[in-house]
Symmetry: D2
Subunit: 334 residues, 4 copies
Amino acid sequence: MIHFGVIGYGYWGPNIVRNFNQIEEASVAAVCDKNLEALKRAKKLYPSLEHTSDYKSIINSSDIDVVAIITPVSTHYQLAKEALQNGKHIFIEKPFTATVAQAEELTELAEKKNLQIMVDHTFLFTGAVRKIKEIIDDDVLGKLYYYDSTRINLGLFQHDVNVIWDLAPHDFSIMDYLMKERPIGVAACGQSHVNNGLEDIAYITVYLTGDIIAHFNVNWLSPVKVRSTLIGGEKQMLAWNDVSADEKIKVYNKGIDVTNKEGVYDLLISYRSGDMHAPKIDQTEALKLEAEYFIDCILSGRKPINDGHAGLRVVKMLEACNRSLQSNGAVIDL
Amino acid sequence: MIHFGVIGYGYWGPNIVRNFNQIEEASVAAVCDKNLEALKRAKKLYPSLEHTSDYKSIINSSDIDVVAIITPVSTHYQLAKEALQNGKHIFIEKPFTATVAQAEELTELAEKKNLQIMVDHTFLFTGAVRKIKEIIDDDVLGKLYYYDSTRINLGLFQHDVNVIWDLAPHDFSIMDYLMKERPIGVAACGQSHVNNGLEDIAYITVYLTGDIIAHFNVNWLSPVKVRSTLIGGEKQMLAWNDVSADEKIKVYNKGIDVTNKEGVYDLLISYRSGDMHAPKIDQTEALKLEAEYFIDCILSGRKPINDGHAGLRVVKMLEACNRSLQSNGAVIDL
Amino acid sequence: MIHFGVIGYGYWGPNIVRNFNQIEEASVAAVCDKNLEALKRAKKLYPSLEHTSDYKSIINSSDIDVVAIITPVSTHYQLAKEALQNGKHIFIEKPFTATVAQAEELTELAEKKNLQIMVDHTFLFTGAVRKIKEIIDDDVLGKLYYYDSTRINLGLFQHDVNVIWDLAPHDFSIMDYLMKERPIGVAACGQSHVNNGLEDIAYITVYLTGDIIAHFNVNWLSPVKVRSTLIGGEKQMLAWNDVSADEKIKVYNKGIDVTNKEGVYDLLISYRSGDMHAPKIDQTEALKLEAEYFIDCILSGRKPINDGHAGLRVVKMLEACNRSLQSNGAVIDL
Amino acid sequence: MIHFGVIGYGYWGPNIVRNFNQIEEASVAAVCDKNLEALKRAKKLYPSLEHTSDYKSIINSSDIDVVAIITPVSTHYQLAKEALQNGKHIFIEKPFTATVAQAEELTELAEKKNLQIMVDHTFLFTGAVRKIKEIIDDDVLGKLYYYDSTRINLGLFQHDVNVIWDLAPHDFSIMDYLMKERPIGVAACGQSHVNNGLEDIAYITVYLTGDIIAHFNVNWLSPVKVRSTLIGGEKQMLAWNDVSADEKIKVYNKGIDVTNKEGVYDLLISYRSGDMHAPKIDQTEALKLEAEYFIDCILSGRKPINDGHAGLRVVKMLEACNRSLQSNGAVIDL
């Protein structure tokens, strides 16, 4: 039995506790939160768990194998470092850390101590992303042309991070998982309207190997909720609409046919428009699959797809965004 | 009676002829096209018109008051200049010209000769844009926060221009018309996949006075057709979906309420979410209204909203886009 | 403190337990189910509750004030009767009973014993239905013309009832609540394809006072999920789309204008098409509101809108449907 | 060259003239309308055609081979009869005639005189209906379960017919074309609100051989425009949404799996939910294909799928609807 200590029982923590608790080989032993109201809610639902407002009692407990860190990003580094130093595996909220340097230090530390880090890139475990991964790996789309993502809605909180650090980790981790191509440059622009100088809308361009552009539209001030990703390919094109109840993924047999008749100045370009196919998407709760996968990684010693290195790659892009914002939108090399 | 000569009878020319012809005070006297097939189609439909493959015979004709130039942008300057020099008003396809210098020369020439230039920014005459103009002018949205436009679909032709010069003139002219705020900088990035180095996807950011960002997503390689514009405001927010059959414009009583309790570090930010209102949109054909308006401007001497200066403002943004593309996405000051 | 005993812990029972449990003045004291797996699930989540597979121990318990009956309709009458005879209020799943006679007997019994019956017409407590009620009561729609409901999806279970008894109670109870007009006749037709002669698709027409037709399309064999209700009125028209994430209710300023120029044979009929308005819908969980309302009714003695009489009115329509099905679709007078 | 005379140049007539005119083997020689304004519009567009307000001059003309009758249904019988008697083929608007007896007389007359009748069931020539026909004929859906059609919008004119005779001919002709099963009974109910006793909403059930139900919802008083048809089958299910710009037809690999374990009382019924497929739809104008097909039928002597017999089958259902309306919704045997 693998015992979990969970630090942070705010919005997302209860889902973590519920999901790790329902796995046969796992059990949540203790919950920590500085907010006494949150602790009270945890107590009512799980009276037999240990409850504490002191994270040290979790990190120091010899009964705990894994520490789940479900707290604001500014606290990640310190908590994760102490937990790793005390020999605990860690499951940590996204984004992994507040800086690249922190992420590098933590991944090194984990490797030295032979401990697992899983960064909670939950989206990788949704039926939609797993299906898109399968489609791309099967070369259904052919050579990729572009990746275009829009993640907008009304959703400004009193935050310590801007909209990029809040929303883009989802999309950065998804793109990192789906595509072989690697980011080589990042440019970002944005604007702050109401939140102490923290951007509430932003547009990000990521330049990838293979001459591919990825673009990300993130916005806390949109009247409509959009969760849309387009992936253009030479053979087919894919549209993922995550707010649609059905048919989240549509694969279009559409594209451009180029006939190079007599040299480059004589291209004949024509449309191709065929059937559309919407594959069935598995509906299993993503966090359930992620939790089971983490247990499996701990037991087998296998490195998860969303390990510290994956978390680091996302933080590198996030940090580059901030530097680009401060440099008038200049491209920051990675 | 105002007599028109129309140069260019390809895709859009027939609509121009039909619309000017049905106005009581106007009549199309001659049509010119170098393509004899196009000329044949014109002859069949309008046997009594003069047909020619030599534009000079239109520009030199003493019977013609207005020359409509419905040809590729690379030919605009020469045709317009000759027409103006011969004392003709001009109605000219968008984008106005291929360079800022050309647009400036033409507007000066027209003013010197007291002639009208109307640039065919048809969208300004749609029911949707006229309604949005009314909504913004009535201060329904309050202080504007951002302008976010997406105009994408599968639509690559063998073009002499990139996707920005093809699609963005629509959006630049609409934004120019709707908003008081003026562009001060432009940044663009894009990629060419199949078309001889001409970008087929591009992302443009326009920095406006008043700390407003406008963003434009234009793409010839999208499997889905999207024509969507979001305008965020302090009081309300507007979404314009031009591919929707009904309810193209939705005004959301949504936003953010900021309470500054004790200094800037103590902002209390909360959502506001209320009713949505979809105003009725007038369905009159935009080109019909534009044509009538042009006749009215010629007769009254009034300057149209889409005059040479409006055309010039759009070309300035387009030219800045190209320069930004060549400068690795750097912001080009206007 | 009002103590509940809940009989039936299958699909819906857990929601009942959770919602009554979270009300301050109420508490669930015991849960009963014949299925031991279900009972096990209840025990794990609520270890301190009494668990039993014998409903008698709930109905006979002197600690219990209210019995919630969340079981198949065929068992409702017997369970409710015994509970009422033992002096318990009842909260009972829809449809109220399997026959009109049973419903009449139970409502009489409850009145004689001065006990409350609440039939679980949950939909009446949704934000959407409460908003429509407000709109109709405010005479926004004017004189009503028709009520047209479609409730279809893929959803056949091994049932003891046909699709009408499964799905139409929702719509019958909603219509009964929203409209003053009373049903005077019912006709139904349907077909069974896979389920032992129990209809899996059916179409129902209810004739109401005031020459209004209501129509209900219920279907377990539809590939798409539709939850749509149209209410046509003289002044405005309303569309309720319950599967839409936003804008569930749209009120259209559309209609017909009739000018009676010179007698009935000279009607001049024209369209009227104006703005559309989508009011904000309260998102509170319907069952939470219903549970609180029930507690309030018990404490105050007030009769709920969804009391035994409301349940009886729905069962009358359901019974008439079955008789019409057996009479080749003939209209059954109510 | 086949010469057409067209009687009726109102809403639909211009489309008929345009489409027959553009066929190489056909030409419209004369147009007739009693409305002088309509005649004036025809003259302006086609100055070389003969124009007349006397239909006799068309029916008696020895230069005319085919008479197209694009007039209200009440005039169909007389005009068609005279045209056939004068040896003309006829192309006639739907519904074919006002009574079954008229349709029978006309089809007999045409056969006796070896003339063609084509009833303008335009929908049969749309890309959508042709694709559905192909899908059903290829047994993609398996045994059919039901046919469910909704055709509603705001659209009341000052009519001589009720909503059934206006809208249902579309759906009756489509169903008649798509399905092998034959109607054996019809029941209809409806209501008139504003139009002199002519029903403006109606619901129709058609009982078909093979225990299939078809249902039709037609409504002139709906705030939303719906053109939706569901066809349920044992193997797959089809949804046709004709107001959707793309993906009008969706084929769902969804259904019910029935396992009959031990006799009829032990059915095990489970869902099946798989991928969805949206085939590409041909966009050619339906009327163009229909016109070409008619010319082909005249030249080859082949009987069209939409001949007088097809028109008669639709009128039989329409007449039965009216009788059912007068009989309180009773099923009328066919």
